[in-house]
């Protein structure tokens, strides 16, 4: 196995705040890597650094053999990296099909508009939006918009998919559904980096987990190892005594 994404010493400051601090991790091809951590740990900032929305202050990002540090997002997208946003970013006046067609047209395969429409339909089908193709994105429910984010990212036929809290705000049925969708995506050979607050979901989906706290890597390992790491429990609960007590049980 080779690393599809290598993150080395990544650092980002916002004024005096050190949002990401010398962070390093790898993702192997076909792996699902979970990125967890308390609110404000810097998870979404890591996504924005990896896909070029923010410029890193230090460190580098290598994706599929290309050094993408400092590249604008659209060039990184062409290399086969797609993402969803925690706060949905639909192209509101455009239909579901058009939203996905944009993703397909300008994604990894640089498809023509008619081929892109086919890819868009396939992706919409995969996330069960096939019956809403001609609805404008503005008319979708929040769950629908989350699925659209995913469909649009998939339309690009990426090799690496960054999922930023696609389960947040969904009801239990929708969550279960979405987890099924993610498994299907993985079966297609897509490597996934996922941020998620729903522990059950991320523990069952991920092959490996990286825990962030205050921009630093706190722990890394298999879901079970990470869950039993006292430092991780402390970071979440904020109390070493409580963490110790929990582990005693």
């Amino acid at each position: 196995m080779t690393a599809l994404l290598v993150v080395e010493n990544l650092t980002k400051r916002f004024g005096g705040l050190l949002a990401v601090d010398k962070l390093s991790f790898d993702i192997e091809t076909h792996e699902i890597l979970g990125l967890i951590g308390p609110n404000g740990a810097g998870k979404s900032t890591v996504f924005n650094l990896v896909n070029g929305v923010f410029a890193a202050d230090e460190g580098r990002v290598v994706f599929d053999g290309h050094d993408v540090t400092g590249m604008p997002p659209y060039r990184i997208a062409h290399l086969g990296l797609a993402r969803t946003h925690q706060i949905v970013q639909p192209l509101t006046a455009m239909t579901v099909l058009e939203n996905c067609t944009v993703g397909a047209c300008f994604g990894r395969e640089n498809l023509s508009i008619s081929r892109a429409r086919e890819a868009a339909r396939e992706a919409a089908e995969l996330v069960d939006l096939a019956d809403r193709l001609s609805v404008t994105a503005a008319q979708l429910t929040i769950a629908g918009k989350k699925r659209l984010e995913l469909a649009r990212a998939l339309s690009a036929r990426p090799t690496l998919l960054l999922l930023d809290e696609v389960l947040a705000g969904l009801n239990p049925t929708e969550v279960e559904h979405m987890i099924g969708v993610m498994r299907r995506i993985r079966e297609r050979g897509v490597t996934i980096l996922i941020i998620e607050h729903l522990m059950q979901a991320i523990m069952s989906l991920s092959d490996r987990i990286v825990v962030l706290n205050s921009g630093r890597k706190l722990a890394e390992g298999k879901p079970a190892e990470v869950a039993n790491n006292p430092a991780v429990v402390e970071a979440y609960l904020g109390d070493p005594a409580l963490a110790a007590e929990l582990h005693g049980h």
Binding site: P72, P73, Y74, H85, L91, C105, S112, I113
Partner: protein, 334 residues
């Protein structure tokens, strides 16, 4: 803002196989034929202005309607095209066709250069910088001696001779302008149905999201800005050749820029038929206002009020309103 949608059935057909292609052809034919039948010079002059307005509005729509960038200084393309054409004809002795094409390409190239700079700005900052460019170019023209400075350039009437004398030349200029108008409509149509156009529409909706999806936003915006300069520059060349006179205050009159924005909003930004319809209606309204005793001096007041009313009551403009009433219209008027 539902004007952007293209019906799924229409998306599959080729550009030529769709009704809208032939509607544009029909509009061009009517413009060409109406004044010719009966040799109606008055009608020709009115339609000539309409053709200029349609050209300006359609090209402005590529930036405003597709990309969501308000170009307040779009008139700089028209004025600069006029200056380059008039200068090449008068001082350099170029033939009309060569001068017009040179004006189109020169202004487009300049727009690409400016665009790469100012398109880093968004919203009000971009709008202000477009006014700045117009003012800067006007100041340049006022001080550039080969262009006659603030006095401008008068064309010698002899320049109409190669076209068969002034009377015939005016008809030829009119037909050429109708051609430029037609090309503007087909350009808007072709862009909107292309991958490039899809990228522009995505930029207009959410530029950051478009970039993340892989749309090369800086490059696309600059190309759109440059393309939207080409035909207005040629229209400016024809317009000022016809006037046989050009001066900075006419060529770079911001009023016309503002009117073009009103027209696009009135018709419905993002649609192709909208700006054309808006331009025609606005030209008719303007003609009526200018000749009416009560409103002669209030033409711009009316334009301002109209813009306010559109923004408040029908943000989708005329086409947005029509689509709302008759959704099937989308398949015919794009």
């Amino acid at each position: 803002m539902t004007v952007l949608q293209v019906p799924a059935t229409a998306q599959r057909a080729t550009l030529i196989g769709r009704p809208f292609f032939w509607i544009i052809a029909l509009v061009i034919a009517v413009f060409a034929a109406a004044p010719t039948i009966g040799n109606d010079v008055e009608l020709r002059e009115s339609l000539l202005l309409a053709a200029v307005y349609i050209t300006l509005a359609s090209n402005l729509n590529i930036m405003l309607g597709y990309c969501g960038y308000i170009n307040f200084g779009s008139i700089v393309f028209f004025g600069l095209g006029g200056y380059i054409t008039v200068y090449l004809l008068n001082t350099r002795g170029w033939p009309l066709g060569g001068a017009l094409l040179a004006a189109g390409f020169a202004v487009s190239a300049l727009a690409l250069l400016f665009g790469l700079g100012i398109l880093r700005l968004r919203g009000a900052f971009f709008a202000l910088s477009t006014i700045g460019i117009n003012e800067a170019v006007q100041a340049f023209a006022e001080n550039f001696e080969p262009w006659g400075g603030s006095a401008g350039i008068y064309l010698s009437t002899e320049l109409f001779q190669p076209l068969g004398g002034p009377a015939r030349a005016l008809w030829i200029i009119y037909y050429l302008l109708v051609g430029v108008m037609g090309l503007s409509l087909y350009l808007s149509y072709a862009i909107k149905n292309s991958k490039f156009g899809l990228g522009l529409l995505a930029i207009g909706q959410n530029e950051d999201a478009a970039g993340v999806l892989g749309v090369p936003t800086p490059f696309y915006k600059a190309i759109a800005y440059s393309i939207s300069a080409f035909l207005p520059a040629i229209a400016g060349g024809l317009y000022f050749f016809k006037s046989a006179f050009i001066q900075p205050s006419d060529a770079f009159d911001l009023t016309l820029s503002t009117e073009a924005i009103v027209i696009v909003m009135l018709g419905g930004q993002g649609s192709i038929a909208g700006p054309a319809l808006g331009a025609y209606l606005y030209e008719e309204l303007r003609g009526w206002l200018l000749t009416s005793e009560t409103f002669a001096n209030f033409q711009l007041v009316v334009a301002g009020t109209l813009l306010l009313a559109i923004v408040l009551f029908t943000p989708g403009g005329l086409m947005g309103w029509l689509y709302g009433r008759w959704p099937r219209l989308r398949k015919v008027l794009e």
